[in-house]
Symmetry: C2
Subunit: 257 residues, 2 copies
């Protein structure tokens, strides 16, 4: 099986290297950005191109690891119509390939990728959707090459997964950002928050988020909540956010105590 | 040094056991709730009382590990006025003891405690405030008995720390809760989110939250954001929260790209 990567960003880098390390044959990297294309190609020791005309036509699988907008235009290109074409986007329906390619699917990893941080692909859940049982078999095979956790999901489930990931990752990271600025305003280093951040994540490996919750909103401790709102009085957006999230937590636990 | 614990909740349990394991002498547990008092006393093999009249008067240190409201009334009790009286609350000023006790301070651990989950006290940052250099010396000694990370902070800094902790822990856990409900609505188990949750926390051990951010809001990807808002259309509070947090992230990165 010969594989082409269309896109050379964070996900392309981590996924192509993981596949190659496990013996899969990556034959080319395409990116419209020369730096990205050449950097990833060098890591993989394969040729690259920045021209869609020069994408190899006889590969078996094409991975599209590009932005949703770029995907929209790249699927229009009439090449390798019998190969398997796969995108990796959380919020794009598999049907984007419909009428343009014969064999296609989705290969969605639920993880946050930054170039500066290594990840163990083996522990990343992969969500597969395919245009036919034959394509599904091939995508499951490739998925199991790099990961222990592989699920079959349709486009609607995947979209909900992507929304979940925004809450569990991007919005969580923004909470870290807010907390970080707050400790700096108290002349303390971000370091003091690290054990709390790790423990909060590790807790939900063993307890449900509902069981793991602590804090003034859960206890309906209005005295503490009011003191905290006063600290935030000159940061109206944060004050509102604190109030809204406290109300949500409070409502969740209100009928339980 | 003889230590009395006033309060027998999650923090009292973890802290008193950690102190005792390191050779400190816990002599009594007080709680108004008999079950709590007797359970912790049994773990420590010490006597307990549920009556404030029977709190031992000749101990050296009294730890108040109770709710802010309970603390307010307990500090009024005129016992052991020459001993060191210490509360463990994030949002209560040290001055609550002023005029009632001679030697006092604060011993605030930045961590989330649940009875169902063990914690390694050694890695928990402790924040100390004291009414005199002598009390400070004693509280630093006790703090170093159980933890590697000990800081001196005043009541204002500690209040900001507590607000930070609400964002980095309680609100983060609420994001996990929302994500958990969302994956369940897609007929998938909470398990699929665990690697993402851990990686999101681990990333900020090495990168700043600002460097670690990913996702549609950071990229200003309105196409994805709009699809996600549509998924949330029947959950107006979550839709509003998604919009507000996306706007905050977007504004943070807007001037950087």
């Amino acid at each position: 099986m010969k594989i082409v990567f269309i896109g050379a960003g964070n996900l392309a880098t981590h996924l192509s290297l993981a596949l190659q390390q496990m013996g899969e044959q990556i034959v080319q990297v395409y990116s419209r950005t020369k730096t990205s294309a050449s950097e990833l190609a060098a890591l993989l020791s394969v040729p690259y191109t920045t021209s869609t005309d020069k994408i190899i036509a006889d590969a078996d699988v094409y991975f599209y690891t590009v932005s949703d907008d770029a995907l929209e235009s790249l699927v229009q290109l009439p090449f390798a119509t019998n190969a398997i074409h796969v995108h990796t986007a959380g919020s794009v329906s598999m049907d984007i390939f419909q009428g343009k390619k014969k064999n296609f699917g989705v290969f969605y990893p639920l993880q946050t990728f930054s170039k500066a941080k290594q990840v163990n692909f083996n522990k990343i859940p992969l969500f597969i959707e395919a245009s036919s049982p034959e394509v599904e078999t091939e995508l499951f095979r490739l998925a199991h090459v790099v990961s222990e956790q592989v699920y079959r999901t349709n486009s609607e489930q995947r979209l909900k997964l992507h929304v979940s990931a925004v809450f569990a990752c991007n919005f969580v990271n923004h909470m870290y950002q807010i907390a970080s600025e707050m400790v700096k305003s108290a002349d303390l280093p971000f370091e003091v928050l690290k054990p709390l951040i790790l423990e909060t994540a590790e807790k939900v490996m063993h307890l449900s988020p509902e069981q793991a919750q602590t804090g003034p909103a859960k206890r309906n401790d209005q005295g503490v909540i009011n003191k905290h709102l006063e600290v935030l009085v000159e940061l109206p957006a944060l004050k509102q956010l604190y109030q809204d999230l406290s109300d949500m937590i409070l409502n969740q636990y209100l009928h339980q105590s």
